[in-house]
Symmetry: C2
Subunit: 407 residues, 2 copies
């Protein structure tokens, strides 16, 4: 008799986005003449940069002819892309990362979800609250938690991110082995300074722990004193893995390309206490369960690093950041406290009421969709997230409507 | 202290393709004027069909404009592709599969590797020998085997596929829970009749087991009496999952698109013995650890089912099948026994000597690269695999050289 992995049954049904969809449908049916502006989901809305489109087309043409056709590529990604990444995203900022430490993939969601496979099922996990739900759910599936009680899974160590700590969590009060961090944070938009990250790196070294650093939103950092990569922190290469994506800087959410950096110095341990390098383990996983990213997509991603690509990416990012500023200004004028916006496409708003109550108010009074904060964890209760990923026109219109509704 | 998943340490280093590469390099250095013909790896060589290229370009153009841009798509794949698959690959052959039972992914390697996550770690696994190594390695990583001894992992049930059983394994003599089958088989090229598959379906029903059916090579079936899908067998929907790919029929090895069919009737059990549907479990995994296939790639895959696409795909497949015929004819004339070719792009040759000895002989005497059979399992010892994935010109030249060298 084939038994299922019963840890899956512990997973709470994720009603968040289906609930949002249901309430939107109900509103639209009741108000067929009103248009809804969506500032909920963190999905980009602008077309791909011209440099990427040109490279994409050109690579598709290569696939048409036997003489230039490419079959299976290297599972870890083509050298042209790994080299461009190492040079531009790390070496240019003083982080000594080599191309063979870069693993190209089809998404940071996949990588942040799959990485836990490399570690023992009894590893003690720490993760921020609120945060992107994939870190938690994939550890539940792997059996690293108990059941769900009072809004949290037993056995996980939650790192509360609240107004009190400026949404940058404190070190855990009990020993942990694996630590998820995400800066600029999704959903709060908060960032961590070099000094703050240094504390985590030191903690990981002292406790033989590992940091899984999600930097999917690094392109939105405007403050030059803030680190864009954890590898800008001395000693981080021994205790950290970093996840990056082309989704939010270059608009690849529907095109699919990302990468993960696993430094060769990065270590975990076997049960005898001997050091074991993580790089060959991830390489083995990548080669066994993955077959590389589509060749034309890798060429499109490479174009992000061309001279034209860099300019176009910056324009895209600036456009979303200016949207974030408009949202923050309007929300501030309405007297709400908020985080984010400065170095992030998200504005995290203290609603002074239940998350869903605020959601319903914005939808019904202003025709604007947000994301209720409790979808990201218990500490998100009472908050909503507004996303800057939309056209300027829609953002301006949404803010006018919200001001009018809430004034 | 963070401990690694120590099951990874049980994995045998896969020296097969690096050994092949080393021997090729040595030969090339010793014979700089000789060109090597590669009939080793199962990778296609012809350009993508024109219908796919046109659809690919057109979708890239959509991604350039805000008005037609697509961000995150449905994790399970776009309806246009799932509907085309269900209609053409299943309903047209009398297999009642609905679009929402089709999960589009970036590769059959990923899906066949990831599917085991849904099941208990104490599941008893049966898999053919020889066979595609991903099924085995992913179960080793998950801790479903003991150590490696005498060429096999402890605790696995190997289903010997030999000349005696015409490379179609017999039912296991001990109870098993999860059964991998692959027809047309990689590497032997053998196929299973409806009667043979029916035996497996009946076995699975009687034993509350599940069949994981890899049909990546179904397009190469010329014999109309053979099933292309396990769902052509009555009752299979309750006990089977099927994996398909656009890699070998449409040449998508470097473009990346595949799919997995999980019928809603398909069941496993919880530890209390209650039936648990597999469809929601796979859906949950897909939505948590995967973010959909690149939109332009899905449009290119959809074009496989257009009128022009169907004709072009058939031409591609025929061209490789004619190569397989040429290889089989030459090998037969040299007095070797072989399997495959008839309904497969592979020819599985009994070399009457050690696999590597035969490999070296073909490389050194004929400048042709094959794959030594032992890379696919213990029963592959003494065999080599020749692949039909090359140009007609190269196949003809390779066979002339082999005939001359071995005559």
């Amino acid at each position: 008799m084939l038994k299922i992995n019963e840890h899956y049954l512990k997973l709470q049904a994720s009603y968040l986005f289906s609930d949002i969809a249901k309430r939107m449908t109900a509103f639209q049916e009741a108000n067929p003449d009103k248009d809804i502006i969506r500032l909920g989901i963190g999905d980009v809305t602008h077309g791909l940069p011209t440099a990427c489109i040109e490279a994409f087309h050109s690579a598709v043409d290569e696939m048409a002819e036997d003489s230039s056709f490419r079959g299976y590529g290297p599972e870890q990604g083509y050298a042209f892309l790994r080299e461009a990444i190492a040079k531009n995203d790390f070496q240019a900022r003083g982080a000594d990362i080599s191309p063979d430490e870069v693993f190209v993939s089809d998404g940071a969601k996949c990588d942040t979800g799959n990485i836990q496979e490399l570690f023992s099922t009894d590893a003690k996990i720490a993760l921020p609250d609120p945060v992107y739900p994939v870190y938690l759910d994939t550890n539940v599936m792997a059996g690293r938690t108990g059941g769900f009680r009072d809004g949290r899974y037993q056995g996980m160590v939650y790192l509360d991110s609240t107004e009190e700590n400026n949404y940058v969590p404190d070190l855990p009060s009990e020993p942990v082995d694996l630590i998820y961090l995400c800066f600029p944070n999704n959903p709060t938009g908060s960032t961590a300074t070099k000094e703050e990250l240094k504390k985590w790196v030191d903690y990981a070294k002292e406790n033989k722990a590992l940091i899984l650093f999600d930097a999917a939103y690094e392109a939105f950092i405007r403050d030059d004193s803030l680190p864009r990569s954890i590898f800008e922190i001395e000693g981080a290469k021994e205790v950290a893995i970093e996840f990056r994506s082309f989704s939010k800087n270059a608009g690849f959410t529907g095109t699919r390309c990302a990468y993960t950096v696993v430094p060769k110095e990065c270590m975990a341990f076997d049960s005898a206490g001997n050091k074991q390098a993580i790089h060959p383990l991830w390489n083995r996983r990548h080669c066994t369960k993955f077959n590389g990213v589509s060749y034309p997509v890798q060429r499109a991603a490479e174009a992000v690093y061309s001279e034209a690509g860099k300019v176009q990416i910056q324009e895209l990012v600036n456009s979303y950041l200016e949207n974030a500023d408009l949202i923050a200004k309007a929300i501030g004028e309405l007297g709400f406290d908020y985080a984010g916006a400065a170095n992030s496409p998200y504005v995290w708003i203290q609603g002074k009421r239940d998350s869903w109550e605020f959601f319903d108010m914005l939808l019904n009074e202003a025709g604007v969709v947000c994301t209720p904060g409790e979808g990201f964890g218990k500490c998100g209760q009472g908050y909503i997230r507004l996303s800057a990923f939309n056209s300027r026109e829609n953002v301006i219109k949404a803010m006018e409507r919200i001001k009018k509704a809430l004034a």
